[in-house]
Amino acid sequence: MQESPRDKQNWFIFTQIGLQMALTIGIGTWAGYWIDGKMANKNPIATLILSLLSIGISLYNVIRQIPKN
């Protein structure tokens, strides 16, 4: 089967994960910060919600990319 070379290179995807996590969290937090600036919020609610949400999303993406075995 052609699955064996694929599995061999599967580790490679993990070198991606760090950058993807950092980007997701960074962009999420930046978006929240931007929204807070636009809406002139007194408390940084959007920053809080979006940064935590983006952390969750990035964690989910990591877990999803791990092979199930």
Binding site: T24, L53, Q65
Partner: protein, 354 residues
Amino acid sequence: MLRKITTKLLLVTSLSLFSINFLLAQEGHEAQHENHEASAHEEEKFDIGKMIMHHISDSHEWEFAHGLTLPLPVILYTKQYGIEVFSSKRFAEGKGVYNGYINNHEHIHRLNPQGGIDEEVHVWDLSITKNVASMLLSAVILIVLMSTVAKSFAKNRGKAPKGIQSFIEPIIFFIRDEVVIPNVGPKYEKYLPYLLTLFFFILINNLLGLIPGGANLTGNITITLFLAVLTFFITHINANKHYWLHLVKPEGVPTLMLPLMWVVEIAGVFMKPMSLTIRLFANITAGHIIILSLLGLIFIFQSFAVGGVVTLFTLFMNAIELLVAFLQAFIFTLLSSMYIGSAIEEHHEADHGH
């Protein structure tokens, strides 16, 4: 008991060593800071940050060395004044001002009668800049190189490769056999031309960027973003039913959770081209900055000893950059083929590899 004492002793020693280290580092830092301030007061002759930014960013003329500049065409379009074409030499002659246009740090604006920047007029800058010129050069190189290889491949079919073909042909076959076929799967032939072009385009431009006086094309985020967007579109235009179904309705997820999953999946989809973009851009730009700052040390210290050491270091870094040039082209191609492969694969195995 003895062990306990030894442990404590070790702990104390290590802590004190650590703090001494820290103290020394801080003192050194302060000294350096003072030095820096003193020299900044004395003279403002050499600004390393400015030099580096000048080298890694795009410009309207191609400066190979001081005094050796290739003027490039400037093409401007404004709604009010129409198309305007002139050489970038005019800007150099007029100290950045020509015919009512001002070149303000490589951003061209229209001047108003008072001599200030006219914000009303939006200037579309379609100039052949340094990066565009370098890209055209790389395109010519690629076309000549690849047609030569193709011709000699057709001529020497079944025989040993000859000339430049013997260098390029193994790379092409390596990309096809080790990168594209295992990752894209049996339908690889449709995507092979794109992936090979991607590899050689990035490779040639990385290498051109390493030549002194070359343009930093693959260290320009617009170029890398465009390449990643191409991969993104090719992946999603060719994606099959399973891929889309997986995005819209992952298996084993309760209906109530679906909207949240869409947010997560869409974020994941867009993060892939983003990380491709940032990786290539950051690697190449960082390499250039390291080499330039090493060379900048010569101008800061102005001593032969530093010059000798820096030359060795720069040589070493250049060798590493050669490796990085190949590696980044390879990684970009490998990840692109992985994304395409994960979008077109038939659904016979459990979810992994995307």
